[in-house]
């Protein structure tokens, strides 16, 4: 993995200078790297593809009971059937909506508190210890309490997601603001920036890499929170689909929901990476390099 990234960085550095490298050796090395990277990438996909093929073969041959693990082809057929005649798309939409709502609320609270604490020592003294103490609780342990408060409905699910999202965003926002190079802040003062300009031009851009790391963690926790929340007393959503299927021992549907959760997790990570590439184009570790 790191090899692939390194060779891609090489390539963009050569591209960024705009010109053809003066030494011919550089170009050939770059193309060799490119070939090598492609080969490595193919290789990295080989194992998972093989695994699926073996799985399919075992299922077809009857070595794997469909009650235990249905064949991948069966899962795909189920997916198609549920999408066309069933409620799969609706359930998927409901789940995504819950995740989005919870994430938005949690991110707003986390970033708001983080900015407050990052800028003000007084706010830090007033807020930070409490937040850190709440953070020490694995947020899923709060689930029974949340159910007592809010019942098993939409509010409970969104609340749980928001709870999981708040802390990674909060911590990384505070960290990011605190880690901004004091020399750059000093420069801002020398250039005559006011407080708002200083925040807009120097502190927030400087904190952004850390904040986006928080976003990435938060997306993962949001997903975990959603799975747990939907497993308990949901009337719709991917989790409901899974629990409903459990009643009827429909392992194909259960496997399908697991795969969907995984795919959405991958998509969420892709979104985070996309944001990093767009917003941190200036940063040598992000930007065009990935």
């Amino acid at each position: 993995m790191s090899n692939i990234e390194l060779s891609q960085i090489d390539r963009t550095v050569i591209g960024a200078d705009g010109g053809v490298p003066s030494q011919g050796g550089d170009t050939s090395r770059a193309s060799a790297n490119r070939l090598g990277a492609r080969g490595l990438q193919l290789l990295s996909w080989l194992a998972p593809v093989l695994l699926v093929i073996v799985w399919e073969w075992l299922a077809q041959a009857g070595w794997l009971s469909p009650q235990v693990l249905p064949a991948p082809s069966k899962v795909m057929r189920t997916a198609f059937k549920l999408a066309t005649t069933g409620t799969l798309l609706n359930d998927l939409g409901v789940s995504l909506l819950r995740a989005a709502a919870g994430f938005t609320i949690g991110a707003a609270v986390g970033a708001g508190l983080g900015i407050l604490v990052g800028f003000s020592r007084i706010a830090e003294a007033a807020i930070d210890r409490s937040v850190q103490m709440i953070r020490a609780i694995p947020f899923l342990a709060a689930l029974p309490l949340v159910i007592v408060w809010l019942g098993v409905g939409e509010a409970e699910k969104i609340f749980l997601v928001a709870l999981g999202v708040t802390f990674p965003i909060y911590i990384n926002t505070v960290l990011g603001i605190r880690q901004v190079d004091p020399k750059l802040i000093e420069l801002g003062r020398v250039q005559g920036l006011g407080a708002i300009q200083l925040i807009r031009r120097i502190i927030l851009p400087g904190a952004l890499p850390s904040i986006l790391t928080g976003v990435r963690y938060a997306l993962a926790t949001a997903w975990l929170a959603l799975v747990v929340a939907e497993t308990i007393g949901a009337q719709s959503g991917i989790g409901f689909l899974a629990m409903d299927a459990r009643e009827f021992l429909r392992t194909d549907v259960i496997v399908l929901t697991i795969v969907i959760y995984a795919l959405i997790g991958v998509a969420a990570d892709g979104i985070a990476r996309f944001l990093e590439r767009r917003l941190l184009a200036w940063h040598p570790n992000y930007g065009a390099a990935r």
Binding site: A16, L193, G206, H283
Partner: protein, 242 residues
């Protein structure tokens, strides 16, 4: 706040001093770093400030820049001085023109930044990132960022110390040219004796928080100061035959 940065009367605006420092006092706790320091820099005058580490020369520059408070005395400057630090301090997330126009409150900031970047020979790199610059190029952008503010006082805090010898010589030429064009008063803090001789109209040596030696070069260079003499003032024994 003990810093008094008061505007001078408009009549003295044209050819008045870039900064007047009187009886400056600066201390960290009980340790006095600058004591009763007086200094006047005219507009268009290039002053180099030499001194060994810890003599208070950077402290003086920071006080003039308004970055540190002072415990006594007065600093009178017509407007906010511009500073170039030893590190370029470019914002890595902003393009070069955005860096140069940082703090400019004018509508055509990009044009002005473009002019300034052209002056330092980087007019074709407006939208480039700082990370694609060499050390010397980055420091040239920092110079453009300082000069675009049209300062009456330009403070240079060892801006060439981290550059290689050849780049440094080119930077000397560039700075001399820029100062001639813009006519700010300049205070260059350095520990490089040759740099001071090459650039300055007036050389000051600071010792124990006060100015201990002053040499004023004639404009035609008729009263040169020798390297050995300056090194002597800095407390370095010169082994060259005299």
């Amino acid at each position: 706040m003990n810093v008094h940065v008061a505007p001078l009367s408009p009549t003295s605006f044209e050819s008045g001093p870039a900064v007047v420092v009187s009886n400056l006092m600066r201390s960290y706790g009980s340790r006095v770093v600058i004591e009763k320091l007086n200094l006047r820099i005219e507009r268009g005058e290039f002053v180099a400030l030499l001194g060994e580490s810890g003599c208070g020369k950077t402290t003086l520059l920071r006080a003039l820049a308004g970055l540190d408070s002072i415990q006594g005395g007065r600093i009178v400057a017509p407007r906010r001085p511009a500073v170039v630090f030893q590190e370029h301090r470019l914002l890595p997330w902003d393009s070069l023109w955005r860096n140069v126009s940082l703090g400019l409150q004018i509508p055509n900031a990009r044009e002005r930044a473009a002019e300034a970047l052209t002056e330092v020979g980087l007019g074709d790199r407006l939208d480039d990132w700082p990370r694609n610059l060499s050390g010397g190029q980055a420091q040239r952008v920092a110079l453009a960022r300082a000069l675009v503010q049209q300062p009456e006082l330009l403070l240079l805090d060892e801006p060439f110390a981290a550059l290689d010898a050849l780049t440094r010589i080119r930077m000397h030429e560039l700075v001399r040219e820029l100062v001639a064009n813009h006519q700010p008063g300049v205070l260059l803090v350095t520990h490089d004796v040759d740099e001071a001789i090459a650039l300055a109209d007036r050389i000051l040596v600071m010792r124990n928080g006060a100015i201990a030696f002053e040499h004023r070069a004639a404009r035609d260079g008729s009263t040169p100061i020798s390297r050995a003499e300056l090194l002597g003032e800095l407390g370095v024994m010169s082994h060259s035959p005299s």
